[in-house]
């Protein structure tokens, strides 16, 4: 290598750190750069020491309102546990289920929460694989939604069990009666897929957390430092550690995307493998996956907006991120429309008596309000609003749309589970499902747990992956082309 040709800065005029690069001297260019920084987090370079503080300050100081909220949510969690105990003692009959509606709100919650759990992985893994740079600050908030939604989803089949203490019969191990569980049954594909997805999501989130836990370890003292020291595992950020970290993240990203698709497909197979009107459909797999991503993206948007307002994360979460997420939600809404129409059209045209009965029930019968609300929330409202960038970047409007999407998707699951079961080929066994108090209380309690765990998590671990932001900031830049500054993405 010709050493002489390498210009090397001398100690006195050595290069400045990337966060101290001055604005261009030309006024026009300086103005352009200031504008670009305003819009784009990765160009708005600040000293990491300051950025660490932006993240850690809201984690340290909690308002009284936060603690009051915690107490209320903890009350909700206790209510859940108490009700669960009541249900375990008195039997599953305290629910509103009964022949023929044997699956109801617990299964609805299960499907809904698994759905919510999909967006986190999708945003952090798929957007990572596709190199969407705006994913950097939002990936962990999304992954955390996945973690807690999935843990609650995994609890629901247990709540649904009559004798919950027998759950270990799911393990591949012969029980007292010498029976092995049958892995040829959809009800065992489910725990297998959820175990894979849940454990790998935890590891995936943790892998990305390690460098940030190391940052917390470096900037705390006392007992908290000891806590972070354990979870940082002695991370120093050596080349070897980063190289292994990178490969592991790639393995997880590429591995967890098909697992994510498989999980919700298998959840849909819990339904579509049965010869039940409204369930037995070949499109259920992709239809459920799209629905899951749709509601999950909405849930992540809600979480991000709340985090931005309550934790003062305006530096990290900018209109560009909400714009990207909202566009993504619009695409998913249109895809959902397409799949739902597919799922609807074939039975409608075939016109089997039971399908016709079900359709009449939904379109002009007792369940019509639910059906129309679902269509309005899932199809009409996103299509009418999200095409506009003004609405996509207006957090209040976006929040309302995202909440309505949650309502719509929850109703969709209600229509699929208890409403479909209410009608079958034999009119003598038609039935009606009525929601009972214990189910309502358990549902509310689990959602309380989800929110409580989430807000406590955000106060213990940085909810923005700072190292990813620094990586982006160090590798992004502006390049002058003619008189214009062009956003230059990372060298990769």
């Amino acid at each position: 290598m010709p050493e002489e040709n390498i210009s090397r800065p001398s100690p006195t005029e050595r290069g400045l750190p990337y966060w101290e690069q001055p604005l261009p001297e030309d006024k026009e260019l300086a103005k352009q750069e200031t504008e670009a920084r305003k819009d784009n987090l990765l160009l708005d370079v600040r000293a990491p020491a300051d950025v660490n503080r932006y993240m850690m300050d809201p984690m340290r100081r909690q308002s009284r309102r936060f603690w009051v909220l915690c107490v209320i949510l903890a009350g909700g969690v206790l209510m859940w546990w108490g009700t669960w105990l009541y249900q375990a003692i008195n039997g599953i009959g305290v629910e509103g289920i009964g022949r023929p509606v044997m699956w109801a709100v617990y299964i609805v919650n299960f499907v809904y929460l698994i759905g919510i759990g999909h967006a986190g992985t999708f945003i952090s893994a798929a957007l990572r694989v596709l190199k969407f740079e705006w994913r950097r600050p939002i990936s962990r908030a999304a992954e955390t939604v996945t973690l807690f939604a999935l843990s609650m989803a995994a609890v629901y089949p247990l709540i649904h069990l009559g004798r919950v203490w027998k759950f270990y019969w799911l393990l591949p191990y012969p029980n007292q009666r010498q029976l092995w569980p049958s892995y040829h049954s959809p009800l065992l594909w489910d725990p297998t897929a959820i175990l894979t997805y849940f454990s790998c999501s935890i590891l995936f989130a943790y892998i990305s957390l390690i460098p940030d836990i190391a940052m917390m370890r470096d900037h705390t003292t006392g007992r908290w430092q000891a806590f972070y020291r354990i979870f940082a595992l002695g991370w120093r950020g050596t080349e070897k550690e980063w190289a292994h970290h990178e490969t592991t993240q790639n393995v997880f990203s590429y591995g967890i995307i098909p697992v994510m698709f498989s999980v919700h497909t298998i959840v849909s197979w819990d339904f579509s493998m049965a010869l039940q009107a409204g369930w037995h459909s070949t499109i259920f797999g992709p239809y459920f996956v799209v629905g899951a991503l749709f509601s999950g993206t909405g849930a992540v948007i809600i979480a991000l907006i709340v985090l931005r307002q309550t934790m003062n994360l305006k530096f990290f979460l900018r209109p560009e991120h909400f714009n990207g997420m909202a566009m993504f939600m619009l695409v998913l809404s249109l895809t959902w429309d397409y799949f739902y129409f597919n799922d609807y059209m074939a039975p409608w045209f075939a016109g089997a008596p039971v399908d016709r009965t079900l359709n009449i029930l939904l379109q002009s019968g007792a369940y019509a309000p639910f059906w129309y609300t679902m269509l309005i929330c899932n199809a009409l409202i996103p299509a009418l609003t999200l095409w506009s960038k003004k609405i996509r970047t207006n957090l209040t409007a976006l929040f309302i749309v995202a909440v309505l999407v949650q309502v719509g998707m929850y109703l969709e699951r209600i229509i699929i589970v208890p409403f479909s079961l209410a009608r079958n080929e034999l009119p003598f066994s038609w039935g009606v499902y009525t929601l009972q108090a214990p189910e309502t209380m358990i549902t509310i309690g689990t959602f309380c747990f989800l929110i409580l765990a989430y807000i406590i998590f955000t106060r213990i671990f940085p909810i923005i992956p700072l190292w990813e932001v620094y990586e982006g900031q160090a590798l992004h830049g502006l390049r002058k082309v003619g008189h214009y500054l062009l956003h230059l993405k990372s060298a990769e």
Binding site: P9, P11, R14, G15, L16, P17, Y18, W19, P48, A49, P172, Y173, Q176, L179, W180, P181, S182, Y183, H184, S185, W189, T192, A193, L195, T196, S199, C200, L203, I207, P211, M215, D218, H219, L233, G234, W235, R236, G237, T238, E239, K240, E241, W242, A243, H244, H245, E246, T247, T248, V251, F252, G255, I256, P258, V259, S262, I266, W467, Y470, A474
Partner: protein, 341 residues
Amino acid sequence: MADIHLLGLFNNLEAAADAIDRLHKQGTGDEKILVLSGSPYKPEMLGRPHYHGKVGLASLGGALLGMLLAAFLTVGIFLLYPLIQGGQPLIPIPPSLIVFFEVIMLGMMWAAFTSMLVLSGMPVFKAQPYDPRITEGYIGVQVTLDEKLSGQVEQAFNDAGTMGVKRQALAPAIDLNFRRFWGGGLAVLTIGAVITLLFFYDVLKINFPTNMNEQFSYGYEQGPRLAAPAESVPVQGPDLIAGEPASLPVPSSPNSLQRGKTLFGINCVMCHGAGGTGNGAVGAFFNPKPFNLTSSAVQNLQDNELFLVITQGFGVMPPAAENLSPEERWDVINYVRTLKK
């Protein structure tokens, strides 16, 4: 002389690259240099050789282990306990593929995580050369070499514009290996012991409560039988409920008996005979023979039971509900009562 660690801190990439170049020139090999940073930089940016990790290979190994586990779940279990399900073969391919996919992915990702920790030498609990400013964007260049050479390394760091140099003696290596050896060994032993115990459950026979034998249970047709609720419909039909749907019984009177006798002659006599003894002209062809209405078996029946028999028929006897109104049926019953021996 003992080896020591020297850690030079730099606040930008160029200075760190410069320091590494100077170290190379002094004859320090790449194996003695370690770069610490708060976000990932490509080693080539710092003039360092590319590092080839083995996490990918380990993931492949994990995937193979997962495949074995999946084979056990989908094939092994069904060979141990043949359970044919829903008209499928004993080992059906499509459901097995699902389990294979999930468990292979599980093995692959768990192996990636474990190998990331093992290959990076984590977790580390002993003191290492470090500075908290590394998570503030600073880049650390760590050199491990003989203490005698530390002067020239510090010189190189200073020439490159370091923000500070830290010295640290080599920590005794035993500490970590000690923990890892015993911690890991203990974990392996515990897991092994638990798994072994699980396979001897049939020998140990711990009497887990199964609940099935603890619940209240009744033998076949074991009494006492509970009385039917007051508002329930008797198995004989609604006619036995007082007053419904039959009209009120018609009291026995000469007029009623007269009507009863006439109706009996029209509807009953051909089988039961004029005297009601069961010797009617048609009844002779039946087997079993029509009932003898004068017998105590018939006469001991309640009025409403007779009413039911007339209304619904009995055995080969057809129902007379179409021919006789409820009042007429009561007339016939009154008449039948007079046939008593």
